[in-house]
């Protein structure tokens, strides 16, 4: 029973960073928290498949990433519907004016949405979540060359989108 409660406690302790990762993947805060919710449900249901002694954070991030991939179709539909408003918003803002990090969040989320899914997840895991390249290769079952080239393309595009002037 101790192990059970510690799994749940550990998962609870990951909540703030799981929300951060979800925000990096998602269109808006509501989508992000839906994704976190789904991830928690799945993680709790699958807890016997987690091997104690291995990293719970990587395991849970992987669940979240898989759930997120599952929803790719509805996401691209939504992005198409909402894209025009977002373009207008981006054009209208002075990037240097948006120094306040909280204001910058919406802007960064919008820019992340413009990356292809496979670049966005790598940028989120390495640049935002701070995982090492090797950890991300294992988490995503990808070779190093693929991860590093996606990271190059993703961050270069992102800089072009939000870059300082």
């Amino acid at each position: 029973m101790d192990r059970t409660s510690s799994f749940e406690d550990q998962l609870g302790a990951l909540l703030p960073q799981l929300r951060r990762f979800a925000h990096a993947l998602s269109w808006d805060a509501a989508d992000a928290d839906d994704l976190v919710q789904a991830t928690l449900e799945r993680a709790l249901r699958s807890k016997r498949q987690w091997q104690p002694g291995t990293r719970l954070d990587s395991w849970t991030y992987r669940i979240m990433r898989n759930l997120w991939i599952d929803t790719a179709r509805s996401r691209s539909r939504k992005a198409k519907l909402e894209a025009p408003a977002t373009e207008a918003e981006l054009v209208g803002e002075d990037p240097r004016g948006a120094m306040d990090a909280a204001i910058d969040l919406k802007r960064m989320m919008t820019a992340m949405q413009k990356l292809p899914d496979e670049q966005r997840e790598v940028v989120a895991l390495i640049l935002i979540e701070g995982f090492g390249y090797r950890e991300v290769c294992e988490m995503l079952d990808l070779p190093m060359g693929t991860v590093s080239s996606r990271l190059v393309r993703g961050r270069t595009r992102l800089l072009a989108l939000v870059g300082e002037q």
Partner: protein, 232 residues
Amino acid sequence: MTVPDEKFFAWLDGELPAAEAAAVEAEVAKSPALTRAAEQHRALRGRLRAAFDTVVAQPVPQSLRQPAEVIDFGAAKRVRDHRRWGSPAQWAAIAATLIIGVFIGTMTAAPGSGPVEVRGGHLYAASALSGALDNELASASVTGPVRIGMTFRDRSGSICRTFTDPQSSGLACRDGPDWKLRGLFAVPEGQGGTYRMAGGMDPNLAALVDSAIAGEPLDAAQERAAMSKGWK
């Protein structure tokens, strides 16, 4: 650039061994373009972290502190066995009435291509579904449309597995070399592909599992062992 992009960024991210890092650093110091790129990308990373760290600083919404309808099968079954509410047969009967005939019709429409086929009056998994049931571990990442949920033995000792694809979820149990379907439930209209549906198990499926399961679900090691023995 005199340094390949991948190497430049690996240096910037602290991923290079010391000797290589020193070499890249020297190249960057010589090149105003690289120096500028390094500054811009450091600033970008700092800005990304600062922006997304505001999420960490926010209070976690109460709804996430109490995940809704999480089903711990082991615990749920212990409670049920203890209190003896409802008979398994009753649960199965309720669940079985909810399998939708029309839906099955669409799933089997094109012989040889649907995820389900009918043989001798029984439904069996076919194509991508049987492939996933044979080869996917619940703990592994998924490449196809079908995701495996949990694996367990039923009261007769057969291996059973739950699965989800974008249109349906269900339970299949080993029948010789095949996977015989015990239940198949359509994803409710309008819910396909939403995060919530992807995460939550259909309550009908949950009831069916509860009526079929003997003991605890298999853990990752047991699941792998069962797969290596051909799910016998």
